[in-house]
């Protein structure tokens, strides 16, 4: 059953939206979503790596011997992560400091390796780009949404702007680690309800 290009792109936005449908790559999701800006920044960085590595893996899919393919994918991904790291140091230094070790850790984000293995190694470059872009944007949206909930409740701000009046007492619980776990768990529950599963 061949899917159209548009279908490959949109499946990442709802049907297979990470990390809710594909429960993969949870660490950055929990760690960087203290605010909307951080969540979106991380999402965009991951999308970039995802699209580039999908493209390269797909172009090289007939050249890479299948026995050492995972090692090859990891090197490809690590290369693009280094590119992102250097780009962010040059153009978005404050964000780079905020995200800290989670930028190099995109290498071990299971979503990126998962897409390379499950999709890009079997499809042509154009479909692979569509898949990478779709999954990447879905991931960015999820991070943004989780970041929004945690920032609004935990700091009383949205993207740095104040939402509630000054009398609002923020739930600092939400920006700490336990808040991240509980919040993601409840969002997963809502997604299950909405998806009718």
């Amino acid at each position: 059953m061949a899917k159209t290009l548009a279908q490959e792109f949109t499946k990442g936005l709802w049907e297979e939206i990470p990390p809710f449908r594909l429960v993969l790559g949870l660490c950055p999701v929990l760690a960087v979503t203290k605010s909307v800006a951080n969540g979106l920044g991380m999402g965009i960085a991951t999308t970039f790596v995802l699209v580039c590595s999908n493209l390269l893996v797909s172009l090289l899919r007939n050249v890479i011997p299948s026995k050492i393919r995972i090692a090859c994918y990891i090197i490809i991904i690590a290369t693009f992560v280094t590119v992102v790291e250097l780009l962010m140091q040059a153009f978005a230094y404050p964000l780079y400091l905020q995200l800290g070790i989670f930028i190099p850790l995109i290498v071990v984000n299971c979503i990126v390796l998962g897409r390379a293995e499950a999709f890009a190694s079997k499809h042509n470059p154009i479909y692979s780009i569509a898949d990478g872009l779709g999954i990447g944007i879905g991931f960015t949206l999820s991070l943004g949404a989780l970041g929004a909930v945690r920032e609004v409740l935990g700091e009383g701000t949205f993207y740095g702007m104040e939402v509630f009046g000054s009398s609002f007492e923020p739930f600092t619980f939400m920006v700490e680690a336990p808040g991240a776990f509980v919040c993601l768990g409840l969002m997963l529950c809502l997604m299950n309800l909405a998806g009718g599963r």
Partner: protein, 191 residues
């Protein structure tokens, strides 16, 4: 001596790798449904994390820094970890088959465990000495094991309860992890 004690306590409890630093969540949620698999994973992580922490420290300080190619750190570290896992697997298969059978499928999974890579990066970023890096790696690995085994214990009980359908599995798992993480926050006042 006092410093080292503080380092150990802070790595195990206060900055617990899973519950406070958000690293290694995939194996934390994936292998915690049964106590047996949780113990297996904890052992495998202890083994690999300590070796990886020490070796990447040496690679970073003696090769990357002296040659002035620090920007290759991400690639170098992931290669070290991936090949280390391979070697450990082959070595155990040959010489200690009992341990190999115990660790089983958890060894290859560790390559993409971000806790291992994370600890290596933390060791380098905090500019630990060799001894500190060694101790921090051991303590972080113990912290990971502690959190995983505690969590597996709670999860085995949760399965027995009646959980609403949409909340089942990962969802309730995350909420449970949140509650355990809340308990670990209490350690923050210790040091």
């Amino acid at each position: 001596m006092g410093d080292i004690f503080v380092l150990i306590i802070s790595c195990i409890f206060i900055n617990n790798i899973v519950l406070a630093q958000y690293l290694g969540n995939c194996p934390f949620l994936g292998t915690s449904k049964k106590m047996e698999t949780a113990v297996g994973m904890a052992m495998a992580v202890l083994f690999v994390m300590v070796m990886a922490g020490v070796i990447t420290w040496v690679v970073n300080n003696y090769f990357l820094v002296t040659l002035g190619i620090k920007f290759l750190r991400t690639i170098a570290f992931i290669l070290v970890i991936a090949s280390l896992v391979q070697f450990v697997e082959m070595f155990l298969k040959k010489s200690i088959p009992a341990l190999y059978a115990g660790l089983g499928i958890f060894l290859p999974l560790i390559t993409t465990n971000c806790a291992v890579m994370g600890v290596c990066l933390i060791n380098v970023q905090e500019e630990y000495t060799f001894l500190q890096a060694l101790i921090a790696s051991i303590a972080y690995a113990l912290g990971f094991g502690l959190a995983l085994i505690l969590f597996a214990g709670v999860r085995e009980r949760v399965i027995l309860g009646r959980v609403p359908k949409p909340l089942q599995d990962t969802s309730i798992g995350l909420v449970t992890a949140g509650v355990i993480s809340l308990a670990f926050m209490a350690f923050k006042g210790m040091v």
